[in-house]
């Protein structure tokens, strides 16, 4: 509650004029600290949830030796990784190799700048918030490609190229799904989007949620779309040649991006910090964890897709559905310009079911193959 009240007071102070003495920098300092703590804590929590949850879903226990219920396992891993030797391959492009983890990790943290933890409790209430998220999220692809290129290793290069291919392809359905949400909310500011969600957008935009979830998972290269670090094919993909702290940065990036995508999904589709009884930041964290749990669930269930399946899914399935979703949403907005009524919830669900059935029937891989 103390954190909550301080968040609210900061939220209040953020509405003050920016030339208010000291207010801007205090706001900046406080939220930078909050974001870093939030991201790192959730990363550790996510690693724990993923390893333990996945373990239980595979009928085993997962790490349980470090600390109670294995809670300290991420700490133990971090300590181990920190003590490891930092190896740079002889033929590596040293500067690119050194810069890549930073370039990959920084954007994952920067996304949180526009994510609201409460009403207006965010580092920067950008009017183009979601656009900023999309722009920033793509930067880590450059970091990954730098890693693949700088390592001078063919596995790294292949992994990085696959990563770029998936990011570039899945960006389109993701952005189109976001566009649907922006149409309904009438604003690009994440705080305004949350405030507009009297009905959570997962109900008004079920197809958009599905597209965004699949696209988001693909964009941060989580299983079943983890082609760029497919262990069985590419040893470890783009971070094959990384060890020590640099590897830790990539590991951190992987989960920080998962936190970021979960936070964006929670904000866009699940009503962000809104919810009864509990304080807003707790609602937000709970929703983020819930979204991540679904990611772990799908990861445990689904096997890794092939690269042609990955591309076919993006271009032949998600992309047309995202376009249709955008058009349908636009028509609905034109018909009900003020606010979308509840009646649209079952209609949109029906549209989603119909479209998925139709497109599953039409879906073909290369050369018209139907079966996998």
């Amino acid at each position: 509650m103390i954190l909550n009240s301080s968040l609210n007071s900061i939220a209040y102070s953020s509405t003050l004029p920016p030339d208010w003495p000291g207010g801007f920098w205090w706001h900046w300092l406080l939220f930078t600290v909050i974001i870093i703590v939030f991201a790192l804590t959730l990363v550790m929590g996510f690693i724990w949830i993923e390893r333990r949850g996945m373990g239980r879903m595979q009928a085993r226990l997962g790490p349980n030796q470090a600390g109670p219920f294995g809670l300290l396992q991420p700490v133990a891993d971090a300590l181990k990784i920190l003590l490891k030797e930092d190896i740079i391959p002889a033929k590596a492009d040293r500067i690119v190799h050194w810069l890549a983890p930073v370039v990959a990790f920084a954007p994952a943290l920067m996304i949180f700048a526009v994510v609201p933890f409460g009403d207006g409790a965010m580092l920067a209430d950008l009017d183009i918030g979601i656009l900023y998220v999309v722009a920033i999220a793509s930067i880590s692809a450059i970091g990954i490609f730098m890693a693949g290129w700088g390592s001078s290793n063919k596995y790294s290069m292949l992994g990085a190229m696959r990563g770029i291919a998936s990011v570039v392809s899945y960006e389109i359905p993701v952005v189109l799904a976001i566009a649907g949400v922006v149409l309904v909310a009438g604003s690009m500011s994440l705080n305004q989007i949350v405030l507009a969600q009297d009905i959570p957008f997962i109900l008004l935009q079920p197809l958009g949620f599905l597209l965004f979830f699949i696209g988001g998972c693909a964009e941060i290269n989580r299983s079943p779309f983890d082609l760029m670090e497919a262990d069985s094919e590419l040893t470890a993909g783009f971070h094959t040649e990384y060890s020590g702290m640099k590897f830790a940065m990539f590991y951190l990036m992987e989960y920080a991006e998962a936190v970021a995508i979960s936070a964006i999904i929670a904000t866009l589709f699940l009503g962000g910090w809104r919810g009864p009884l509990l304080p807003p930041w707790l609602w937000f964290v709970l929703k983020v964890i819930f979204v991540f749990f679904i990611m772990v669930w799908t990861r445990t269930t689904l096997p890794r897709v092939r690269i042609d399946q990955l591309m076919a899914l993006a271009w032949k399935f998600l992309f047309p559905l995202a376009l249709i979703n955008l058009i349908v949403t636009a028509i609905q907005i034109l018909v009900w310009p003020d606010a979308l009524p509840w009646i649209l919830v079952p209609i949109n669900l029906a549209i989603m079911a119909l479209l998925i059935l139709l497109w599953s029937k039409l879906f073909k891989l290369g050369w018209g193959r139907v079966e996998v």
């Binding site: 949850g53 373990g55 239980r56 879903m57 595979q58 009928a59 085993r60 226990l61 349980n64 219920f69 669930w297 799908t298 445990t300 269930t301 689904l302 998925i356 059935l357 599953s360 029937k361 879906f363």
Partner: protein
């Protein structure tokens, strides 16, 4: 019309995994928990019965690895061989059990042990008194169904897999 392709297959898979989340894990937390091993197991050591052994060295001859060494002397007053030295290098032992099968006097048994990693090679060699049975060195029921009947049954399940240590 196959419904597997409309997301039904994914839904089925998701159902399977979420059910596994709420069941007991099947893994055994090894150093803290152990399964009962098979009653007829061929462990990593031999149990030797000094009274029944006549020093005929059939076991040594049957060992494909040559891991058993027996030195005997004649004892005139008892009119039999006396075992002066029996030495089994379990580092060479491949747990084939041929020595136990070959023994004509039921003086040799397989053991139960499976945690006999040592730092020095000499430490895995067992000789004379080290080969005798003791509460820690149970005889396994390999080749001897009567012994097997007395041993606890093998289980592949533990009552409840817990986190406690």
């Amino acid at each position: 019309m196959k419904f597997e392709r409309y997301g039904i297959g994914i839904a089925k898979g998701l159902r399977v995994t979420i059910r596994h989340l709420f069941r007991h894990p099947v893994t055994v937390q090894y150093p803290e928990q152990r399964l009962n091993i098979s009653r007829r197991t061929r462990g990593n050591e031999l149990i030797w019965d000094k009274v029944k052994c006549t020093g005929c060295a059939t076991c040594a001859k049957s060992c494909p690895q040559g891991a058993i060494q027996i030195v005997t002397s004649t004892s005139m007053e008892e009119n039999k061989y006396e075992v002066e030295q029996i030495e089994v290098d379990t580092g060479y032992c491949i747990s084939c059990g041929l020595c136990v099968e070959a023994c004509p006097f039921e003086a040799l048994y397989m053991g139960y042990a499976y945690e006999r990693a040592k730092y020095r090679r000499g430490e895995v060699v067992q000789a004379n008194e080290q080969l005798l049975p003791s509460p820690q060195r149970q005889r396994s029921g390999y080749m001897y169904p009567k012994i097997a009947d007395e041993l606890p049954r093998q289980t592949l399940l533990i009552e409840r897999i817990t986190e406690e240590k």
